[in-house]
């Protein structure tokens, strides 16, 4: 054994195309989509790993990986540039029997069997790179051990009217999972799976191998692995998470989750020094608000220059807003240059877009979020 044995390693699924984000993910994978003024969506899971003391993370990429690969690099922003472990990007690869795309979430893990085996872990944490939340996985692991669980699934309470959008867990009095229903029409519980799993590696290994040889399988955790384990009566528990959690699957929810950060009662605390969210830091001077500038209820970042009015907005680094321009309720991504006398409302403006003087951007008719890509 050349490497040190690890108690737990994380496998982060970051291959998603996020087709519902349409233009946003034309060129980049969903986990690489900018969020919250200076982050990318995947920064939250990577920072959670680092802050939870998990030092070995495999990131499974597939769709448009260039920007994601560059962002992750050798993992130094998250302290994951380690001699032993650290971050490893696991892209689909060619073998002697040919190469292929990952067929599903379970297949993606199966294909990287050898990666997991070299650490000989007791537990494997399976994560998705699509969600915004802060969570201490070490507490979930403690819970997993206490219950002598073989598979623990993190769940969050969702409004009853939204239960048809999630994988719903039905649990008994002791939080043992008794039934799993994917997007049920008539839900029996409102505990939704967050796509965060801790498995005993020995157990998971067996199920992945069985699933691989099942030709009818979708090779998906939610559709195959979890139902198969339940069917066999494996000891499975739900772990209830209380806190902010959001799947930013659509333009609207991406806009909403950015706006959530501006609310007084926002529960995603970015200012907690004990649980920082790490990202690549741009090289920019502090932002500047001129004598004509006005900023209220907004998040600003380094390199911004504001001569106009900004209300209820999230501005990424390097954004410029010209004189007499008004920007309301919008998310402005890095290095966007907004000219003079511009009016923008309820919009997402993508990176490096230049908005000429006297432009008006808003959807007056339907009041939907406007997405500007160029």
């Amino acid at each position: 054994m050349s490497r040190e044995k690890k108690e737990i390693i994380a496998m982060l699924l970051a291959g998603g195309q996020g087709s519902r984000l349409n233009m946003l993910t034309e060129k980049i994978a969903k986990p690489a989509v900018p969020f919250g003024g200076k982050y990318r969506i995947i920064d939250f899971t990577l920072s959670n790993c680092s802050n939870s003391g998990i030092d070995t993370v495999g990131v499974l990429t597939q769709y448009r990986p260039l920007e994601l690969n560059r962002h992750i690099g050798i993992g130094s922003p998250w302290d994951l540039d380690r001699k032993d472990g650290g971050v490893t990007i696991l892209a689909p690869f060619m073998g002697a029997e040919g190469g292929r795309w990952y067929k599903g979430t379970a297949n993606a893990i199966y294909e990287n069997f050898h990666f997991i085996e070299q650490y000989d872990p007791e537990y494997v944490l399976v994560l998705s790179g699509d969600h915004i939340y802060k969570m201490d996985y070490s507490l979930m692991l403690d819970y997993h051990k206490e219950r002598a669980s073989e598979a623990t699934i993190a769940v969050i309470t969702v409004p009853w009217e939204d239960t048809n959008k999630f994988g719903i867990m039905n649990v008994d009095d002791e939080s043992r999972i008794v039934e799993f229903e994917e997007k049920p029409k008539q839900a029996k519980s409102n505990l939704a799976s967050m796509g965060i799993y801790i498995f005993n590696w020995k157990t998971l290994r067996r199920y992945l191998a069985e699933d691989e040889s099942d030709r009818k399988s979708h090779h998906d955790f939610g559709k195959n692995i979890i139902p198969n384990m339940l069917h066999d009566g494996i000891s499975m528990y739900s772990y209830v998470f209380n806190g902010y959690w959001k799947d930013v699957g659509e333009v609207k929810s991406l806009w909403e989750s950015n706006m959530d950060l501006l609310k007084e009662d926002n529960t995603l605390d970015l200012y907690d020094r004990n649980w920082k969210i790490y990202s690549k830091n741009p090289v920019n001077p502090p932002h500047y608000i001129s004598s004509t500038g006005k900023v209220k209820s907004s998040l600003l970042n380094e390199g911004c220059v504001i001569h106009g009015e900004v209300n209820n907005c999230v501005l990424f680094p390097g954004v410029e807003v010209g004189r007499n321009s008004i920007v309301n309720d919008s998310v402005i991504m890095p290095d966007v240059k907004i000219g003079e006398n511009v009016s923008i409302r309820k919009s997402i403006i993508m990176s490096k877009v230049i908005i000429p003087d006297f432009t008006v951007i808003e959807d007056r008719e339907n009041n939907e979020v406007v997405l500007i890509n160029e």
Binding site: G36, G37, K38, P77, E264, L270, Y271, K276, I277, Y278, S279, N281, V283, N284, P285, P286, H287, Y288, I289, S290, S291, T292, G293, K294, V295, K296, S297, S298, L299, L300, N301, E302, V305, V314, L315
Partner: protein, 372 residues
């Protein structure tokens, strides 16, 4: 890749900096919201590809070591060359501290001799600018001078560079004499205390000043060469800030509130790098009212701010009024406090309702880690 090694000599006169240089060298003083003074000269060097940089401290080096680390942010964490920080040697048998800084260089002569570069760029930290050193180096080589000193031609602004070296330069660009600016003249040439010379000459100068006992200060040793060697001046015409007194420190921060000046300083010939802190975005609430100010990340602003430089992680509460101030990192100004013409060092808590006022020419300075 230029054939130059960079040397930053932190033996600088700190007396006029008052309390903000009590526990740190001038090079480690926080400036412009997220930088330290040394970041500017260091970035200028790495921006032209200098990758062997040594920093000679006068002791008091904790903050500089903490800030620079292994030089990662400046791409100086190298296997070959990289960043070196040298503290003065103290001989336990002879605990008297040696006067002057020449001894530091003698102690590290091996490092200097073994470095592979042919030229030396020697600088201090206290002159703030974004200079294209490539052009200056080319001028040095083309002119055939032994030493090339960088300077800036000044017109007016008499009081801005008090106590700095004043160069007399003839039409051919040769430095004839070096004096001190006492604010008497209105047309003068300010030495930026940056120069290019051959490494071999640099070593000669150091060894001679020891063997002949002529001077104990590197600066004097270099300036003595004006009479003996061919010393040229290279005129820099960009923005130059000078951090040699608390008044000048305050002035430079305020000058950066002019967006054209700060764009030049932060972008013109390359970026200025600094240690990053992974601070979240700065949050402005409904009650925030901020104009003409520079604000770094990680702040929460609920009050009124005018003409200020606000560093990372500062909190300004509701109804607090902060005008013409320089606020260093992690300060907290609570509800209803009023500050004008104040420099707050790091980590100061100003309680609700307190009023602090300095004067525009004499800002009030509050030492770090206090509750007021």
């Amino acid at each position: 890749m230029p054939d130059i090694m960079g040397i930053i000599n932190l033996s600088e006169d700190e007396t006029a900096m008052r309390d903000i240089a009590k526990y740190r060298p001038i090079g480690a003083i926080p400036i412009a919201g997220r930088y330290r003074v040394i970041d500017f000269v260091l970035s200028n060097m790495v921006n032209i590809g200098i990758h062997n940089v040594s920093i000679f401290t006068q002791g008091k080096s904790r903050s500089i070591v903490e800030h620079l680390g292994h030089g990662k942010e400046w791409d100086l964490d190298r296997k070959k060359d990289g960043l070196f920080i040298f503290n003065p040697y103290v001989n336990p048998k002879d605990s008297t501290f040696h006067k002057g800084d020449i001894k530091n260089f003698i102690d590290q002569l091996d490092y200097i001799k073994l470095s592979k570069q042919k030229y030396v760029f020697l600088s201090r930290s206290y002159m703030i600018c974004n200079v294209n050193l490539q052009d200056a180096f080319k001028y040095h080589k083309d002119s055939g001078a032994d030493i090339t000193l960088l300077y800036k031609k000044m017109q007016g602004e008499k009081d801005k560079f008090i106590n700095c070296d004043n160069l007399t330069i003839n039409e051919a660009g040769k430095v004839i004499s070096v004096g001190k600016n006492i604010g008497k003249e209105s047309n003068f040439n300010i030495s930026m205390e940056m120069c290019f010379l051959k490494k071999s000459l640099f070593i000669d100068i150091i060894e001679n000043s020891i063997s002949k006992g002529e001077t104990m200060y590197l600066k004097q040793a270099i300036l003595q060469q004006v009479r003996k060697l061919n010393v040229n001046g290279y005129a820099f015409d960009g923005y130059l800030g000078c951090i040699n007194s608390i008044e000048n420190y305050y002035r430079v921060n305020m000058e950066l509130l002019d967006i054209e000046t700060s764009k030049e300083l932060f972008y013109k010939n390359g970026y200025i790098y600094t240690n990053v802190k992974d601070e979240p975005p700065t949050k402005y609430t409904e009650t925030a009212n901020v104009t003409n100010s520079m604000v770094a990340n990680g702040c929460i602003i609920e009050g009124t701010v005018e003409r200020c430089v606000i560093s990372r992680g500062v909190k300004i509460g509701k109804n607090a009024v902060v005008k013409d101030c320089v606020i260093m990192q992690k300060c907290s100004i609570e509800e209803g406090a009023v500050l004008q013409n104040v420099i707050l060092d790091k980590n100061i808590e100003v309680s609700s309702g307190i009023e602090l006022r300095g004067a525009s020419k004499k800002p009030l300075v509050i030492m770090k880690n206090q509750k007021i």
